[in-house]
Symmetry: C2
Subunit: 465 residues, 2 copies
């Protein structure tokens, strides 16, 4: 049995090195969305940090994207549990640069908070895992008590385009008993959050081109098809004003929230008043309130127009009949919806309504997936959180955002749990992204103690490598 | 009786001075849309050119816009007919400047064509009228054979915002037997066009703001009203896919084309094949063809989305729920529709459909008006055109564009006729706007001979000053 106090002290001792290594990672602007960004050097740096902990690490190519860093340490043996860390080494663009108080690609620690792009999302979480490994090794005679596999991709911020295929192709080396997700942390009240699922997404651009070039509205109004009108009419067939999505069969495979899900939602700290105040709305759509607002926020599929563009957008009047129009539309998906199904249904629906002139460009998607909130791994992760944070964790059955969770949960049949160092003020994706060092320490303790508990046979695991 | 040959020779003789004065006007960049433009100096220059012909000219203020140049010569006496010239001294912006082959505000004559902003629209037409006055005076012992009134406004290119009120306020000095419109000229085949009416217009910006700022689509999709969706749903209630405008009562006051209108349309040179080829459409809306396409093109009201803007318009996917959305919408109006009625109907319609969150900003409008194509003034204008151009004129009952015709035709009860120096290649509003000198001469002859015919008692006029 590894002693928790020794483990906690080991995390504290690992902090200086962790921060130094975080600074090394932040210094490499691995912006996946920007073609010239140094993705491979960042992957190599991350692999080196894993090798320094005794893991075998290598860069594995994807089919056209940046490499995945894959590493493992199986020295705990075939009877010990195996944990897989999923993280990513790519980051969001730093723009707008003038809103940063210190250079985005230079770690700056002020008043116990580390600033820089990726400090939270997700290089800080890589550091959190590395510190946990350091502490575990120090408390266990230099050896890891569980087998560890690490998957750190380079495209999470651009929809993990190549990850699902990569996982499928490498499934034989990715077996594990549990997957630690790339994020985790606390809410506004300091309660740790255990997240059990992510919605999926299907993102489309709808394009219409009706005539060779824009026409004078006095000439063309009665003669030429107007791209903006075609788009408006097509969009209006996708969702009615009661927020019901009108694609045939769209709700057929939706798994409604269970009574237990609703219990969990009801137990969460309510953000209702804050959200209404922050966004300046008197009520939510459909007048939803209480647990019903929480249910709708995550368990209902959505169809969001994210952008519209056509014709003249400047000041005043220009009498033009637009030849082209464009809409960006995202569908958030709940289990067991699938972006490919939505893609085909959208095309068929538009055709059936006479909109075969509306081009549908699929910009990417992710499948939704959930872990049963009563899964023993979730229960164990929550119990450890309660001990580390000294407060009741929030068990969240599903969140509204999306991520590449499906290949792990369904493809690899791994329960996913979350522990980490995020908080609501982390400004992920925004200027002055940051990491509170106290959160980093707590997240690393949570990670380390969770792995130690697995090694001690908690969570009901039989040995499995 | 004024001799036509003498008149024609007088026009020829007036050309050098006309071109010199056109150069003076073109050199003043009187761009109404650009606040810093020298509107008053241009108005003064135009007034001086009229004074040089013996007219009393003055600048009359409008209620907030550039002054109107008003001039008159009533020396023909109370028994002679009175003609009113309507023109404008403002011009469109010259941008994009790099597409001009010579400086836009410098008259350049090359191969019998004069280039420069305003050479056609409308300073060239002012020159056309001045040359006609010169020729009439030279052929009539230094005196004009008819009374002449001149209204030259400075806001035609920005919807003649102040002109209707100005006309109403000055109606007592604007009496005339006939109004010569600001434009005229020939079609592709060299046939002079006599235009008997203009559609009206009502132009709106629809704005929606639902939440304080853009939300993450994963958070807000089920909770917050989406400005883009609100706009799409609101727009889709305005017109159905069969192009039927759904504002209550919108068609109640529409005067359909008469059998004679349809006869006139059928006699026009068909642009059907050219339009389809030019705009790359296989058929017009509703499959209209022949005289039915010509009827729809001008005698049907339209509702055109001229622009759309909301949320993210860049490359790729951004998962955002837009807080704001905007559409530009123009309604083309046919007699006897009225922009004020449309304005009120639009607000009431949106409210009735639950869209009181959609703000309606009225950006301006003009009322439609027509002159009976069998009016003696139209018949006379066409007969003179046949003589001057040596070919059959096209009598056009209504055109699709809009202009401030209503205050003259309905407010002042003046028949409006068109004669002038335009042609389809004039590039009005575009770079390399131009005027063929042969058209200028023909347009001035048409103008001069028309006035001489009026003076000779043709057109059935009793003396009226």
């Amino acid at each position: 049995m590894i002693d928790n106090n020794v483990l906690d002290a080991g995390v504290d001792a690992a902090l200086p090195r962790g921060l130094d290594e975080l600074a090394q990672m932040v210094a490499i602007p691995s912006v996946a969305a920007q073609g010239s960004s140094p993705m491979v050097p960042c992957a190599e740096r991350v692999a080196d940090l894993l090798r320094a902990r005794g893991l075998e690490a290598r860069l594995v190519p994807t089919d056209g994207g940046p490499p995945v860093v894959f590493a493992e340490d199986r020295s705990a043996g075939v009877d010990a549990p195996t944990v897989l860390f999923y993280n990513h080494y790519d980051v969001q663009p730093a723009e707008p640069l003038d809103l940063w108080d210190s250079p985005p690609f230079e770690l700056s620690v002020r008043d116990g908070i580390a600033y820089g792009r990726g400090t939270s999302d997700d290089k800080g979480h890589i550091t959190c895992r590395l510190m946990a490994l350091d502490a575990l090794r120090a408390a266990n005679n230099g050896r890891l008590p569980v087998n560890v596999k690490v998957v750190i991709e380079g495209e999470e911020e651009v929809s993990s385009v190549h990850l699902p295929a990569w996982i499928e192709a490498n499934a034989n080396v990715l077996h594990a008993d549990v997957c630690l997700w790339e994020f985790g942390g606390v809410d506004e009240g300091g309660h740790p959050e255990i997240i059990c699922g992510l919605r999926g997404i299907a993102y489309f651009e709808l394009r219409v081109k009706t005539i060779a070039y824009d026409a004078h509205s006095g000439l063309g109004g009665s003669l030429f098809p107007n791209a903006a009108w075609r788009l408006v009419w097509a969009l209006s067939t996708l969702k009615d004003a009661d927020e019901r999505i009108l694609l045939p069969g769209h709700y057929d495979v939706v798994k409604p929230a269970t009574d237990y899900d609703l219990e969990l939602l009801a137990a969460l700290p309510s953000q209702e008043a804050w959200l209404k105040r922050e966004y300046g709305v008197e009520q939510f759509l459909g007048g939803a309130t209480g647990v019903e607002y929480q249910r709708r926020a995550v368990f209902e599929p959505t169809c969001t127009i994210c952008g519209l563009r056509s014709g003249y957008q400047g000041q005043g009047a220009k009498t033009v009949l637009p030849s082209q129009a464009m809409a960006k539309v995202d569908f958030r998906l709940v289990p067991d919806q699938d972006p490919e199904t939505v893609r085909h249904a959208l095309r068929a629906h538009l055709d059936a309504h006479g909109f075969d002139d509306v081009e549908v460009v699929y910009l990417g998607g992710q499948r939704p997936a959930r872990v049963d909130p009563r899964h023993p791994m979730v229960t164990l992760c929550a119990r450890i959180a309660r001990e580390v944070y000294g407060t009741e964790p929030s068990l969240i059955p599903l969140v509204g955002g999306s991520g590449p969770i499906h290949p792990f949960v369904v493809g690899l049949r791994q329960p996913v749990v979350t522990c980490g160092c995020g908080y609501p003020g982390a400004r992920a994706h925004a200027p002055n992204e940051n990491l509170r060092l106290s959160d980093l320490v707590l997240g690393a303790r949570h990670t380390a103690r969770f792995l130690a508990a697995l090694a001690a046979g908690e969570g009901g695991l039989q040995g499995n490598a």
